[in-house]
């Protein structure tokens, strides 16, 4: 496993979920309701991103380093350890905001971990199930793009994907658009208006089972719960990248 790619996944796929967490989860909404601050994560060989908290909302801004609280990591591995929950301390600038790090951010990180590490018992709660599935899907698609852009084999695979948009999601529900241009991949939440290829899950339950390895795309095809259409070669290559996500996030 390439630690730089893993760090990119942790920053641009896992950590970015805090934005959606604060929208989907009432507890998280409450945690940030009075926050007005920003925190940036700066990781060598990986890049930077900033979480901005304002007006009861959180936005994740990739490639932005300016923030009230700046966190610097000594290496990709240093950052990976933080996301993996190991005790590690980043170098921070702005001592006045350290309270945010120890309080609000820690609470959000715990909340994110709660939703991304489900138990069968927790999944019986429909609201929990929905948030878990949506965040898992976002993590998978955003992580897949990082693999396509950074992992040695992932880059070879991504270079074979034709330019254009791939629409992934559920009709009238979860939607992620993958954009490929010259082998560079990016993801955004929202529906593609002009996709070249479509990967559709019938419902959130099937998406959950597929993303968690409880069913297969083949079974979904047979049961009419998984649909692909459009430029199949794009989906073929994308599937290879999706398969690699679990190796990075196990």
């Amino acid at each position: 496993m390439d630690i730089v790619t893993k760090a990119k996944i942790n920053l641009f796929a896992v950590l970015r979920n805090i934005q959606d967490l604060c929208e989907l989860d009432d507890v998280s909404k409450d945690i940030i309701k009075n926050e007005k601050t920003s925190v940036s994560f700066n990781v060598p060989d990986v890049g930077c991103a900033t979480l901005v908290f304002k007006d009861g909302k959180c936005t994740f801004e990739p490639d932005r380093s300016s923030a009230q609280l700046k966190l610097w990591f000594t290496s990709p591995d240093h950052f990976n350890k933080l996301v993996d929950g190991e005790k590690t301390i980043p170098i921070f600038i702005n001592i006045l905001k350290v309270g945010f790090l120890l309080s609000t951010f820690t609470k959000l990180a715990d909340r994110l971990s709660y939703f991304l590490k489900p138990t069968e018992e927790l999944l019986k709660d429909r609201k929990y199930f929905e948030i878990n599935t949506i965040l898992t899907a976002y993590t998978a698609f955003f992580a897949m793009c990082q693999i396509g852009n950074s992992d040695e084999i992932g880059k070879i695979v991504a270079s074979k994907i034709a330019d254009g948009e791939i629409a992934c999601g559920i009709p009238d529900g979860l939607q992620v658009t993958i954009t490929v241009k010259g082998g560079a991949m990016s993801a955004r939440i929202g529906k593609s208006e002009n996709p070249r290829a479509i990967m559709q899950f019938a419902d959130l339950d099937f998406a959950h089972d597929l993303l968690n390895g409880k069913t297969s795309s083949y079974k979904g095809l047979g049961e009419g719960k998984f649909l692909i259409k459009g430029k199949v070669s794009m989906l073929d290559q994308m599937s290879k990248l999706l398969n690699m996500v679990s190796h990075y996030l196990k």
Binding site: G164, S217, Y218, K219, L221, G222, K231, V232, S233, K240
Partner: protein
Amino acid sequence: MKLNSYVKSTELFKRALKVVPAGIYGHLGPAEGCAIPITAFPMFSDRAEGAYFWDVDGNRFIDYMCAYGPNILGYNDPDVDAAALAQLKKGNCVTCPSELLIEFAETMVDTVAMADWAFFAKNGGDVVQFATLVAKAKTNRKKLVLVKGFYHGVDPWCQHIGSSGIVKEDVVNNFYIDWNVPEQFEQLVKDHPGEIAAFVSTPYCHPAMADSVLPAPGYWQKIRKICDDNGIVLIVDDVRCGFRLNLKGSDYHYGIKADLECFCKAIANGYNVSALCGTEEMRGAAEDIMYTGSYWLSSVPFAAGIAAIKKMKEFDVANVINEKGRKLTNGLVDVAKSNGFKLVISGEPSMWFMRLDDDPSTIMHQEWVAECVKRGVFFTNHHNLFINAALTDDDIKYTWDVADEAYKVVRQMHPELNRL
């Protein structure tokens, strides 16, 4: 026209999913076979005859996939089946091979222009793999030059990095060049003197999901010369094209002589046998390699192959199916045009590839193919198609009628086309 329903196929597929990985794995399955949407396609066949197969729901299809190539004379050809059944009564998989081993090898040598000997296995991949071993043994070199995107089977070395189960080391001895650019081969030879064992290629470019491209004038002659000048073995993977372009081999068809040529699919009209043919110069290397399988010398497929090749010669099958393919595809282009679409045909007529022009997502083409399949004309979306000799003029006419109705349905699905 009546539309097919697939109640039993669907039930069987669900049953299969419980005990068979992917339900139906590989190219006959709905995933690899790009059955889009799956509800338009049959999953399981019941029987086949001539140019048709019937699925388990009783729907009849004019089959333009021909089992992905093996059906060249027509399913259940009476002469081929009679020869196979007669041999089955005498013996099939026996401790000693039957005399038919020699007779089939003699048939191949008499038929394929480059062949001085023939070696038999089961699948195309078996003999392509063997060809690379022969080339490495002959040259004492380890590198292979392949053409980007070409399919040579499922052995790890001919798959692509990033595919499940394939690691970097599996493909580390491969170089890849673009089709129709012999200069890239020339450069590789210069950069890696004494390292390249073989150049491996299909006779022309017929990848899935992209237009087929025929060899440019002089292309194969240039490749042959580079191989000759540098002691590189020229392997022609004729598994898919074999006997559909020319019974003497596709290398002969394009004006060269391969050192090793791989056959499968059409050589026994569906009976399971593949063949590697080689020149005298390659014989010693082939003899030195231990390469075998439990069923490779079974007699029934040999009997079928001998009968099939005899009949193919009598029929002049390659010319017949290319003529049928030309007639069919010209008509399909006309039908598309009359409905305001442009159908693009590429490749040799007996195994053509088709797609709609101005359809970058290919969704409209997929919709059209689905409507054809629902009406009993079996196309696949993104693989080349195949013609067999049993196809009649009536079948071709019926196909045009189905294609016409299917294009009209697609046009109704896309009102935006009428606004253009």
